[in-house]
Subunit: 170 residues, 2 copies
């Protein structure tokens, strides 16, 4: 269970943009300076974020980057998906790790999948409900919000995880 460099650094760059006032921009060299990264590396993240339509760009000598929407409307989930190119919903663990057989060899008695599913549902809710603007608040505020998400998770998990959601492959 690891956070990739793209997720971590890309998120940091996105948060820098989130801290701007309306109309302001930051250039790649500026972000690179702020985050201690190379200009090229920052540019790469900006390209990903732009292609996901989370960031818009201004070219030319006074160019730079800004968010396309208010930070409060950009979920961390959408940022991570943009940075990794992966939509986590689309691939279940069963498909991702199929071994040689290309299909999960475990049948209905698959007892590992529920664990990953529950865990990933938790993570998914956190990243879906937290936005870039949340990462500009105090730690206490972040904690309060995650707590609320966790409580909601508990209530909804019973509905989301059902026996019928077992591995479909034999």
């Amino acid at each position: 269970m690891n956070v990739s460099a793209s997720e971590e650094y890309g998120l940091r760059c996105a948060v820098r943009l989130a801290s701007l006032n309306p109309g302001e921009t930051l250039s790649a060299p500026q972000i690179a300076e702020l985050e201690g990264l190379s200009v090229e590396y920052v540019s790469k993240f900006m390209l990903y974020l732009k292609k996901a339509n989370l960031v818009r760009t201004f070219r030319g000598i006074n160019g730079g980057f800004a968010l396309t929407r208010p930070a409060s409307e950009i979920s961390l989930k959408s940022v991570f998906e943009a940075l990794t190119g992966k939509n986590k919903d689309s691939e279940e663990f069963c498909d991702q790790f199929a071994g040689k057989a290309n299909t999960c060899l475990r049948g209905d008695s698959c007892s590992i999948r529920p664990f990953w599913r529950i865990l990933s549902l938790y993570i998914d809710e956190f990243t879906r409900e937290l936005t870039l603007s949340d990462l500009l608040k105090t730690e206490a505020e972040t904690l309060a919000k995650t707590e609320a998400i966790a409580r909601k998770n508990i209530d909804q998990l019973k509905l989301k995880v059902r026996p019928s959601d077992e591995c479909s492959v034999v």
Copy 2:
């Protein structure tokens, strides 16, 4: 936020051993067959688990593997640490991703770290409290246990995450 192949496949192999009755063993070829993996790959995971003292081995023509302790006493966390060689507690995100500067350029106003910290504390609790024997139970039972862990998490998180835990580097 990704699960590595080693974690997923290695866990599956460990769960196979957890399903054995006392005195029984499984050989690498047997596990490989059950999981659809190569014998060499399974052997690699077994070596890691052995070095972490989670698995003991029996050599020779009728050899095989078995857990050193009851499955209920082996946490998923210890399995993952054995498989990845990483003790997650030891390295904070700040240290893992330091950029060029080798130290986090964000000061006390670091607003990203709390997010990762809270999320990783959740995951950590799940994997610390769930054991290999839990992965042999029904989905409903797993769900009940994760729910209990989540509730406990919420109560304890306020104590664990405090403002004083900010980035220490300037």
